[in-house]
């Protein structure tokens, strides 16, 4: 893509191309926003940064030809989960973030552990040559709506109908459970209220 | 037929529990009647079997039971995975201990007639405890033995923690944890025995024929001996017993001191000393040093206590010390004395705790300084207590004297210096025993009667029956010791043969 440069003979760690640039850009955004998510003090800001990180992920999915996943990411994560989180924060938010400030050794330990983990895992990955092939193995529309639907609802050998149903039941249960847990009904308090009346 | 009856000994209590499961706890009277009937039945059954074993003495034994004179020998494969068998058999020693147990269980059921709390569970626990104790005494297979041995500590804990008085939770925990500590030592050595013997068997009979390697015996014997000694409250593992006894309800104190504490001594004799006699000969002359505490200081400690149950607990500690003195004598007379002391002390401490429980039910205190003169109000209970006291201080005519004289004469035949010293001290400390027993009896029973005890009543028929039967047992052994001595000699002989085997 940049014919003027004569680097191709080197085994490029960073092969350049439109896709690549887009990937790196998205990756950078994701990492930066993720770091912000974790590092900012205010929990609401953190949630907002999380949205950006999720948006980056959605874009990455698009780059990986998984339109349906990207869509779901936007809808479920950004539209559902993060809004949920924001609501929760707002419901519980009159606690100052100051009261949650952690001590320095803990911050350091957290950072050191995370870095050590990442470094070790990446070190494990790097020697594996087969991961470095840029060739795409999947068909163009591997995660298209139609394919997904057929597989999800198929009841032949490769079908996922049963997990699908299980997940749907799980979702139903979650619905009920979260309502039950979150509703404002504690027997003792209720009785007190009754008495007050 | 006898074999079936023999196996029924531990099954009947278990069946009783099962029978009582569907009966509602509201039918207290029915439940108690069932339990009392079952206990009485077992009592008669065991007495009959004692007679059978006695009648069979001299008759040839089953060759599988060879070195021991085991009657009613039963051997059924049980857990094939590690070769555990269901092996039971009766010789003079364990059938007499079974008889002791049946008497104490019977008395325990009767004295806890009016126990507070859930009676259904309490009586079921007593029966379970009885099952486990019967099992321990009957079993000739180490796995079976250990299973029953463990079962008993659990029942004990539940009964103390749920039905006790005073610091019951503390006492129960202390008792159970200390016993569990002992059990862990036993378990370790049991595995050692199994693997070192190399005969793939847990049977005491089979293992006794194997001479275990000396280096194994040298560490395993003290471990196992102390493990068993924990439940017989040998110093320094005696600390559970005063707190445990004082917290326990009457029946549990009776069972704990009367029967359960003997299991340790029985284990020492039947398992540790019988299977590892070479190490026993080396170690036991040193173990007696611990007895200075039990036998000599124990009575002194009892002297300083005011709580009846503590006094009795320390008296048990000192009497159990004498059992170990008999064991450490390593002579036939000493071993017989130890066995006699197990039986005698079972009856006497049962009587002690029974009368204390009955007196406590009436006076609601166990502090001897608060009592006085109650002999006038309850002569029967008072006489029961005094009889137990006389038996405890080794008065001739009671079983305690027979056992003690056997132990002293037997222990004096052991020529190690340390044993001699301890024997001499033990003989001289019979005075201290007399001091605290008389002091207790005098403070409690004699002297002027306080105003508050004017309305006390003497024992009812049920309580009198318990006292009479237990006292009769004490007197019976004390007055006719010949047959029991000769009877016990049958089962002491193979153990002593094993001890005196030389580098076979």
């Amino acid at each position: 893509m940049f014919p003027g440069l004569s680097i191709p003979e080197m085994p490029l760690a960073f092969p350049l191309g439109g896709m690549d640039i887009a990937f790196y850009a998205v990756a950078l955004v994701m990492i930066v926003t993720a770091v912000c998510t974790v590092a900012v003090k205010n929990i609401l800001q953190s949630a907002v940064f999380l949205i950006f990180s999720f948006v980056g992920t959605a874009i990455l999915y698009l780059l990986l030809n998984a339109e349906f996943a990207a869509l779901a990411q936007v809808m479920v994560y950004i539209g559902g989960v993060v809004i949920f989180v924001v609501f929760t924060i707002l419901l519980t938010s009159h606690l100052g973030e100051d009261s949650f400030s952690a001590k320095i050794p803990r911050l350091f330990a957290a950072f050191a552990l995370a870095v050590a983990f990442v470094v070790v895992m990446i070190k494990c990955l790097l020697p594996i040559e087969s991961l470095k092939e840029g060739a795409v193995a999947s068909p163009e529309n591997y995660a298209g709506l139609q394919q997904m639907a057929f597989r999800l609802l198929g009841y032949d050998q490769s079908g996922f109908i049963i997990p699908f149903e299980v997940v749907s039941i799980l979702l139903l249960m979650t619905l009920i459970v979260s309502i039950t847990v979150a509703r404002r009904w504690i027997p003792d308090d209720y009785k007190k209220e009754e008495e007050e009346k | 037929m006898d074999t079936i009856l023999f196996n029924l000994i531990w099954i009947i209590p278990l069946l009783t529990v099962l029978v009582c499961v569907p009966i509602s706890a509201n039918h207290g009277k029915l439940l108690k009647t069932i339990h009392a009937t079952s206990a009485t039945f077992v009592l008669f059954l065991v007495c009959f079997l004692v007679y059978r074993v006695y009648a069979l003495s001299g008759a040839p034994v089953d060759e599988n039971a060879a070195p021991l004179f085991l009657r009613f020998f039963t051997n059924i494969p049980w857990i094939s995975l590690f070769n555990a068998h269901y092996i039971v058999g009766a010789d003079a020693l364990n059938i007499l201990l079974l008889a002791l147990t049946s008497f104490i269980v019977w008395a325990g059921v009767l004295v806890s007639w009016n126990i507070k709390g859930n009676q259904k569970v309490f009586f079921a626990l007593i029966q379970l405890l009885a099952t486990s104790v019967y099992g321990v005494y009957m079993s000739m297979d180490l796995v079976l033995f250990f299973v029953f041995y463990e079962m008993e500590a659990l029942c004990m804990y539940l009964m103390i923690a749920c039905y006790g008085s005073g610091r019951r939770d503390y006492g129960g925990k202390k008792l159970t944890l200390t016993l569990a500590f002992g059990s862990s030592m036993i378990l370790a050595t049991l595995f050692g025995l199994y693997f070192e013997s190399g005969i793939n068997s847990w049977s005491i009979v089979e293992l006794s024929k194997v001479v275990l390697p000396m280096d194994f015996q040298m560490w395993a014997f003290p471990l196992m001996f102390m493990g068993f000694a924990v439940s017989s409250s040998l110093f320094p593992f005696h600390f559970w017993s005063p707190d445990g006894h004082s917290a326990a309800p009457t029946a549990v104190s009776m069972l704990a001191a009367g029967v359960m504490m003997k299991m340790g001594a029985y284990g020492c004799l039947r398992v540790a000393m019988f299977l590892m006699p070479e190490a026993a000969k080396i170690w036991l002359p040193y173990v007696v040093a611990l007895l200075i505490f039990n036998v000599v200081l124990g009575p002194f400690i009892a002297l300083r206590h005011k709580d009846l149950k503590y006094i009795t607990a320390y008296s048990s500690i000192s009497h159990l010390g004498l059992i170990f003195l008999g064991l450490a004598a390593l002579t036939p007379v000493g071993l017989r004395g130890a066995s006699l002391q197990m039986i005698s002390h079972g009856f006497l401490t049962g009587l002690f705790f029974a009368t204390i429980g009955m007196i406590y039910e009436r006076t609601h205190t166990r502090d001897i300084t608060e009592m006085g003169g109650i002999m006038r109000k309850m002569p029967f209970l008072g006489v029961g207590f005094v009889l137990a006291g006389f038996a405890g201080l080794g008065l001739p005519g009671f079983s305690g004297f027979i056992a003690e004289s056997n132990i002293f004469i037997g222990a004096f035949q052991q020529e190690s210096t340390l044993t001699r010293i301890v024997t001499i001290l033990a003989i001289l400390s019979v005075t201290t025993t007399a001091v605290y027993i008389l002091q207790t009896a005098n403070r409690m029973l004699h002297g002027p009667l306080p105003q508050k005890y004017e309305s006390l009543t003497d024992g009812c028929f049920r309580e009198k029956l318990v006292i009479v039967v237990l006292a009769a047992c004490l007197l019976f052994i004390g007055l006719c010791p010949t047959w029991i001595s000769e009877f016990l000699d049958q089962s002491i002989a193979p153990i002593f043969d094993n001890i005196s085997r030389v580098g076979r």
Partner: protein, 650 residues
């Protein structure tokens, strides 16, 4: 078919039967039935014993030993402990004395215990005592003796504390039992030691020993290794310790005067006539054994002689009539004991002391029992033990008065009363044994005895009545109580004359494996000297307490006396010393230290181990702290460790 064996069984079984029947059945039902049971059982036993004795002494069997029956009790491996009935002159004499006195005391108790709440129990325990005492005297071996030794101890305990609502009686009973038990623990140790060395309990074997065969072997006694011969000597001292306590020799004497808290019949049978002589009897029974054991007899002599003087001195100052008699008993026991001890003359043995001692057991039993019964009779009438409150009883109780005179003359050694003969022989034996200090003390004590006995006699019976009841004429003689006193006065009067030849003929200890002193010193002047001293003492007593000039009130007032008198009056403060030793040293010292060890040292160790396990648990619990970041951190660390330490399949 009545033969010796049946009779001997009868002698043992009847008191036992009376005990069982009275104790189990009659004691709550009927006092009269219990009394009848006790009297008849003991009466038949007494008659049987007398028939047995007559038969034994007339059949020509006399000085030999015989075992009428013997049952195996406990087999101890090589040697057996049997229960049997041994008869020889000594045990026959004791059988007669015990059964006869028991019979008398049973009759007496009917009167004495009349109206008591627990008469049935009293008769049961009396019978238990006679049974145990009979078992003791008929013992064939040491073990049997120890068994019955303990049983008489416990019957003594139960009878002293018979009135258990009286704190003084209870503590006296406890003291008596514990002190004798203390001595008995040494006795038991001695039995164990001796039986280990000799491999037998039998008196026959023990009395037939020679030390030389045990010199070669050694025995480890814990702290020291000695030869078996020395161990036997030690064993003989230990065995004697049993008798030391039981016969209340100094310094274990204090329980006997305190035991007077019990009912008087008990004091008369147990604490004067029979049980307390068990110690003397033990030494007499094992005399050949003691004789070979070197200086043990010397120890016995010293202990006996000291107690004799010591108790007699105390008795001169006491005012409690029973305590005077108790100290007099102690003093007489001292006579008997040292009489056995004086048999040791250097390396040789002379047996006259043995005969004298057994003779004195015999005579003493009657007159001392009689004296106690009289004391009980007086106490029953005036309701106090105190001589302060007596006096002038001669007119009111004539029978008692004359019987008392007989008994007191007997104990004072005035001929022809029984005490004269036995005491004279004892003094003679001391002289013949060349123990002149003891001889002198014995003469002196015989004077003291006369003095304090007549002091008692004059104060109680002569002079003006000092008690309201006596003045008012409420005092009378109870038939049931007077009858045994009168009966006992007969042997108190005659047993000396009658017994002298019998004892001289038959009472010799068995064969002794020690050289015997053949040439005995003759001293025909001794009886005269003794009688003279006694008469002087009598005169002194009369002068102080009965002469028209005597100031009795002053004599009885101990408050303005000198220090020595007070010390003696307070029994040399031995009670207090004992109290201090037991309270402060044993209970306050040793027991407190033991409890301290238990509660603090053992307790601390236990608590420490519990604490340690708790801390160990806490260490593990940190990981379970519900602290989420910690969990995650550990997870990560775990992954890293797995990577570096384990074989990650990557």
């Amino acid at each position: 078919m009545i033969n010796d064996v049946t009779l001997s069984y009868l002698i043992f079984i009847l008191p036992l039967l009376s005990f069982v029947v009275n104790g189990l059945f009659l004691c709550r039902k009927s006092d009269k039935a219990a009394a009848a049971m006790g009297i008849s059982a003991n009466g038949i036993a007494a008659i049987s014993a007398i028939i047995l004795a007559v038969h034994y002494f007339t059949s020509g069997l006399a000085p030999q030993k015989a075992i009428l029956f013997e049952h195996e009790f406990i087999p101890f491996g090589n040697f057996l402990a049997n229960i049997g009935c041994l008869i020889d002159p000594l045990s026959i004499m004791m059988l007669v004395v015990v059964t006869f006195i028991s019979f008398m005391v049973n009759i007496y108790s009917v009167g004495y215990m009349r109206g008591d709440r627990a008469t049935g129990r009293f008769f049961a325990l009396l019978s238990l005592f006679s049974f145990s005492m009979l078992g003791l005297v008929a013992a064939t071996n040491l073990f049997q003796m120890f068994i019955f030794w303990e049983l008489v101890g416990v019957s003594s305990y139960l009878l002293i504390g018979f009135w258990y609502h009286k704190p003084s009686a209870v503590s006296a009973s406890k003291q008596a039992f514990i002190l004798t038990r203390f001595a008995d623990s040494f006795f038991l140790l001695g039995i164990v030691l001796v039986s280990y060395v000799v491999q037998s309990f039998d008196f026959a074997t023990l009395n037939d020993l020679t030390l030389s065969s045990f010199k070669a072997e050694t025995i480890d006694l814990g702290l020291l290794v000695v030869s078996k011969a020395d161990a036997l000597i030690l064993g003989s001292v230990l065995i004697f310790t049993g008798g030391w306590g039981k016969s209340a020799m100094f310094p274990m004497h204090i329980w006997l005067p305190n035991a007077m808290e019990g009912p008087t019949p008990v004091s008369s049978i147990i604490h004067s006539a029979t049980m307390v002589v068990a110690g003397v009897y033990l030494v007499a029974r094992l005399f050949p054994f003691f004789a070979i054991c070197g200086s043990t007899l010397t120890l016995i002599m010293i202990v006996g002689a000291f107690t004799m003087v010591f108790a007699a001195v105390i008795a001169c100052t006491q005012k409690d009539i029973k305590r005077i008699l108790a100290y007099s008993t102690l003093s007489q026991l001292g006579y008997m004991m040292f009489a056995l001890g004086v048999c040791q003359v250097g390396q040789t043995i002379v047996t006259t002391g043995w005969t004298a001692s057994t003779f004195h057991i015999f005579t003493h039993a009657f007159f001392k029992c009689s004296l106690f019964l009289i004391a009980g009779s007086l106490i029953h009438q005036v309701h106090t033990n105190d001589l302060d409150a007596m006096g002038g009883l001669r007119k009111k109780m004539p029978w008692t008065y004359w019987c008392t005179l007989i008994s007191i003359l007997a104990i004072s050694g005035i001929p022809p009363f029984s005490g004269f003969f036995s005491k004279d022989e004892i003094i003679l034996a001391a002289f013949q044994g060349h123990h002149y200090v003891v001889f002198g003390l014995a003469l002196l004590t015989s004077g003291l005895t006369t003095f304090y006995m007549f002091r008692l006699f004059f104060l109680a019976f002569h002079g003006e009545p000092r008690h309201e009841g006596v003045k008012a004429g409420h005092v009378h003689e109870d038939f049931a109580m007077t009858l045994p006193i009168v009966i006992l006065a007969i042997p108190a009067l005659l047993s000396g004359i009658a017994g002298k030849s019998l004892f001289a003929a038959f009472f010799v200890p068995g064969k002794i494996h020690a050289p015997q002193l053949v040439k005995l010193a003759e001293a025909s002047w001794i009886p005269f000297a003794a009688v003279a001293i006694a008469i002087i003492a009598l005169a002194l007593a009369w002068f102080f307490y009965a002469s028209p000039k005597a100031r009795i009130a002053k004599a009885l007032d101990e408050s303005n006396r000198s220090g020595i008198y007070k010390t003696v009056y307070h029994k040399f403060y031995f009670d207090e010393m004992y109290y201090a030793v037991v309270r402060q040293f044993v209970i306050g010292g040793v027991a407190r230290v033991a409890r301290f060890i238990e509660d603090y040292i053992v307790g601390t160790l236990v608590n420490f181990s519990v604490w340690f396990i708790h801390k160990l648990g806490d260490l593990v619990r940190v990981a379970q702290g519900g602290y989420l970041p910690f969990y995650l951190g550990t997870l990560i660390v775990g992954v890293l460790l797995w990577r570096f330490l384990g074989n990650l399949p990557l």
